[in-house]
């Protein structure tokens, strides 16, 4: 860091570099948005149950214990592929049976969901399980 490299040069490189890479990021974002329809199963959003299920997912803070496509908390199983792992009936029966009350075991609260809400949630989980995630997770256990 000799006198040849001045603070104002460093500052200019900072602004130039930041603007360049920010624009590049925006260009990649634009391209991603163009490609997403092929991967994100958006056709399923035509079914109102999917959006309703997403709201149930959010309003009960499921992400506070579970992961969804690997993001969330690591206290309870991955649910991005739970539809494929367990199927719709098991998921509903499981949610209704909580909490297990088994001593010392991790407990999931009962969220008192109606049958319609359970169906909506399952529709959302089915949608999530069909997103093209580049083959992740490595196996069905999530």
């Amino acid at each position: 860091m000799s006198a040849i490299f001045s603070t104002s040069a460093a500052r200019n490189i900072f602004y130039g570099g930041t603007v360049f890479f920010l624009l590049m990021f925006l260009a990649l974002t634009y391209n991603t948005e163009q490609q997403l329809p092929k991967r994100d199963q958006r056709a399923q959003l035509a079914n109102p149950a999917v959006a309703a299920g997403k709201r149930i997912w959010e309003n009960n803070n499921c992400i506070g214990c579970h992961t969804l496509l690997g993001e969330g908390a690591y206290f309870a199983p991955e649910l991005g592929n739970v539809y494929k792992r367990r199927g719709p009936e098991f998921i509903k029966a499981w949610i209704k049976a909580q909490p297990t009350g088994a001593p010392g075991r991790r407990q999931m609260p009962n969220f008192h969901l109606s049958d319609k809400e359970l169906d909506d949630l399952v529709a959302f989980l089915k949608y999530a399980s069909e997103i093209n995630t580049a083959n992740w997770p490595p196996n069905i256990e999530g």
Partner: protein, 456 residues
């Protein structure tokens, strides 16, 4: 302290430390729930403890940043704060809003909280780290705007330095990217894609600008090295940060439905993200070695050096560990992520806020530095918390490696809960070191009340 109005920072720092204690207590609750699953159930389910743990962390770091800005911007600008009264009012608004939100988390089921705060009008809740009711999020925006106005006016009317310019840039970016928390499309892939514009572009983007400027400010003060040299370093570090970190967002776009070229962009750019952190370490040690004075506040110098080392280890090394797509394919969403998250947040953001507090608190209390005995106690707090965090990270890494192996690599993969039972030894060890961390925090807090002969 050269300007009277800098003293508003004291409120922010005190508030931050109170929330820090709450954060750690709820962290210990969660840690215990990892091994005694029904601990405090149904009173405090894990997800509630986690919201309190992560949200108090975010809020106390923001308070730390704001306090730091209220202290350093007047001093750098060589004038009083534009409106100390606004700063104080906003402190109480922020603290009460944060407190009410935590009370909401703890007192009613989350779905009820969503209902009574009108989440269906503008649904933003229920996404990781952005669990706050929409109305709290709006409150955060109001506080941030009032804060930026106050700091911005002070900046505009005074001397402009690289430190304040970079800090203001970082704080503005913080406010701007937070606005993406109001965007919650039904399309899960797009929801996740833009969610990272808040989370990643905060912690691996604009927050690093704030971190850099805070560190640079303290280093100028404690080492007496020329401002010219330090400011040049600052620009170099933040250039490296944003050049690597912006496209580095791609390391979150591997497996969420986004195009697969992100595996290349994300891997290459995020693999370079340790470089700015390494530069920060070299910077801190270099400046301290070239110091032109022996500042009596040795604890502050220790925190500054600690920030350099621990942010490099936590954000740099532990980030690199699982950032390449072929590795991340196996580690994504495991305890490896948790290990990295803990050390990175502590090493970078917790430590830089504590650096700032360590340097400024004695000054705001009318002395250049605390008594020797108070500093010794503070340094005990430093070492206990830092070493505890190193072991928390190592134990979570061990748990993570085992988890990845048993659940994802092995030819006969085990289910999630079966694996959790297998790795419980490491969760117990983590909880033990968590208790050591709490002891360190308490020792640190006691150091504020330790008297003794002080330098003036």
């Amino acid at each position: 302290m050269q300007y009277k109005s800098q003293a508003v920072a004291r409120h922010y720092f005190t508030g931050a430390l109170v929330l820090f204690v709450a954060q750690i207590l709820f962290g210990l609750v969660m840690g215990l729930q990892y091994v005694i699953g029904d601990f405090l159930f149904p009173e405090i389910p894990f997800n509630v403890a986690r919201m309190v743990h992560t949200n108090t962390l975010i809020v106390w770091l923001l308070m730390g940043f704001m306090g730091a800005a209220y202290y350093l911007v007047p001093e750098e600008s060589e004038r009083e704060l534009y409106s100390p009264k606004l700063a104080l009012v906003m402190f109480w608004v922020f603290l009460v809003a944060a407190g009410l939100t935590v009370v909401g988390y703890l007192s009613v089921p989350y779905a009820t909280l969503a209902k009574i705060t009108g989440n269906e009008l503008l649904p933003t809740m229920g996404r990781e780290f952005l669990e706050q009711p929409t109305i709290t999020k709006m409150g955060i925006v109001v506080v941030a705007l009032a804060f930026l106005f106050n700091i911005g006016m002070t900046f505009l009317k005074g001397r402009k330095t690289a430190i304040t310019t970079v800090m203001l840039l970082g704080l503005t970016g913080l406010a701007v990217f937070f606005l993406f928390s109001f965007y919650n499309p039904d399309n899960l892939v797009r929801d996740k894609f833009y969610w990272w514009w808040v989370v990643h572009l905060w912690v691996e983007g604009v927050w690093e600008l704030i971190l850099g400027s805070m560190l640079a400010f303290v280093l100028i003060k404690v080492t007496g090295v020329d401002r010219e040299v330090i400011e040049k370093w600052l620009y170099v570090i933040i250039t490296l940060t944003l050049v690597t970190g912006i496209i580095g967002t791609g390391h979150h776009y591997f497996w969420i439905g986004t195009p697969e070229y992100w595996q290349w962009f994300g891997s290459v750019f995020s693999a370079l993200e340790p470089i700015p952190f390494f530069a920060m370490t070299v910077f801190a040690f270099n400046m301290v070695n070239r110091r032109r004075r022996e500042h009596p506040n040795r604890a502050a110098t220790l925190w500054a050096l600690g920030t350099g080392v621990m942010s490099f280890l936590g954000a740099g090394v532990w980030g690199f560990l699982h950032t390449l797509a072929p590795v991340n394919y196996y580690t994504h969403g495991t305890q490896i992520t948790a290990a990295h998250g803990h050390m990175a947040f502590y090493g970078a953001y917790v430590m830089v806020v504590l650096t700032m507090i360590s340097y400024t608190m004695p000054l705001m209390r009318g002395r250049v530095a605390n008594s020797n005995s108070a500093q010794v106690l503070e340094m005990w707090g430093f070492w206990l918390m830092t070493i505890a965090m190193v072991f928390i990270t190592l134990f979570l890494t061990a748990a993570g490696i085992l988890q990845v192996w048993l659940q994802r690599v092995s030819p006969t993969p085990m289910g999630f809960m079966a694996v959790q039972d297998q790795v419980s030894l490491f969760y117990w060890l983590r909880e033990g070191t968590g208790v050591v961390f709490l002891i360190g925090l308490l020792v640190y807090l006691v150091s504020f009340f330790k008297g003794g002969k002080v330098a003036t």
